[in-house]
């Protein structure tokens, strides 16, 4: 049998990954104080913003990020609509069709984002 990695829920695993990636970036810049981590999150990332913020508040304790906030920008789902020949938002997660012409959209352009967009640093 193979032992699992640590972490007890999905968002907590993600929060730990955020701290790891942000930690690398901060170290590269000479360890300034971090006021905030700005995230871009798509609805199809599989991550719930509220749950991620709670998990982050747990995960940041006793790390250099203990005082830093997690700021989440939610990115809309955008598909390439073949009929409009343009990038368009979809009606909803439950209705993946172009808001302009109702054509079902299968080419996803945005919506899976799970990325650190920026760091707010005090140097």
């Amino acid at each position: 049998m193979v032992r699992a990695l640590d972490g007890s829920m999905h968002e907590l695993s993600i929060a730990l990954s955020i701290l790891e990636v942000a930690g690398e970036e901060v170290e590269r810049r000479g360890n300034p104080r971090v006021e905030a981590i700005h995230m871009r999150l798509g609805p199809l990332s599989g991550v719930v913003p509220e749950a991620l913020v709670s998990a982050y508040e747990l995960a940041r304790e006793a790390t250099p990020f203990a005082e830093s906030r997690l700021v989440i920008e939610e990115v809309p789902i955008i598909v390439f609509c073949a009929k409009c020949d343009a990038e368009r938002p979809v009606r909803s997660m439950q209705d993946f069709s172009c808001v302009e012409c109702d054509t079902p959209g299968s080419k996803l352009v945005h919506g899976r984002e799970l990325e650190i967009a920026a760091l707010e640093l005090i140097e």
């Binding site: 972490g7 069709s97 996803l108 650190i116 005090i122």
Partner: protein, 221 residues
């Protein structure tokens, strides 16, 4: 020294480490000529029965399949799958609700991938968490049993959107639960336009031929 915060653009994918491990796995799989499919679904939708049947049928056709199966606890599923006489490894995740690429990598350590034709990765029964993690698979299946209701895709659009094929299982029970095939298909198409849908029963074997044909044609490519 300024006390005003300065915003520094970073643009880093949070799951980059997992994605890198998954990409390396995918390359190893391709080099070994191994076709890899992963399975996600809610608990009890028939992943293990479907996999046991798949392993047995592939073996009877002369292929060399293997499976890695993730569960929070117990190795019951691995024991069930081992009846097919295919190599099987259990990953016990403890409290973790999904598999990650590194766990799959560890589970494969003892195997020579060149001696295998198909590998199946059964994820932890969960329709939420596994959607974020690439495991290096060629094909991701999401299973939906007829007893779960036709609106599962609408309730869990993210997992359906991350998968390539939807498999409707336990089709032998469809009449008993008054399963609405058209509604299920239309819900799947609403959340993932163009998604391939298979309907089958691991118990009766109905629909398994189509599934095996799909596997064989995908592997040849």
């Amino acid at each position: 020294m300024s006390t005003q915060p300065r915003i520094v653009e970073v643009r880093r994918n949070v799951l980059k480490h997992n994605d890198q491990v998954a990409a390396a796995l995918r390359q190893r799989f391709h080099q070994a000529g191994l076709f890899v499919a992963s399975l996600v679904s809610s608990p009890g939708s028939g992943k293990t029965a479907f996999l046991e049947k798949t392993l047995t049928l592939l073996k009877s056709k002369g292929y060399r399949p293997a499976a890695v199966v993730g569960d929070l606890a117990t190795d019951n599923d691995a024991a069930r799958l081992a009846r097919s006489e295919a190599p099987v490894r259990q990953i016990t995740t403890g409290t973790l609700c999904h598999l990650e690429a590194a766990m799959v990598e560890n589970a494969l350590e003892a195997w020579n991938l060149k001696e295998l034709d198909f590998l199946f990765i059964e994820n932890v029964g969960n329709l939420v968490c596994p959607s974020s993690y690439d495991l290096g698979e060629d094909l991701r299946l999401v299973l939906l049993s007829v007893t779960e209701g036709e609106d599962k895709p609408l309730k869990y659009p993210t997992i359906f959107n991350s998968a390539d094929v939807a498999v409707v299982t336990k089709i032998d029970l469809a009449d008993a639960v008054e399963f609405n095939h058209a509604a299920a298909k239309s819900n799947i198409q609403a959340v993932r336009p163009g998604m391939l849908v298979l309907e089958l029963s691991s118990k009766s074997g109905q629909g398994m031929d189509d599934w095996l044909t799909l596997l064989e044609s995908k592997r040849k490519r």
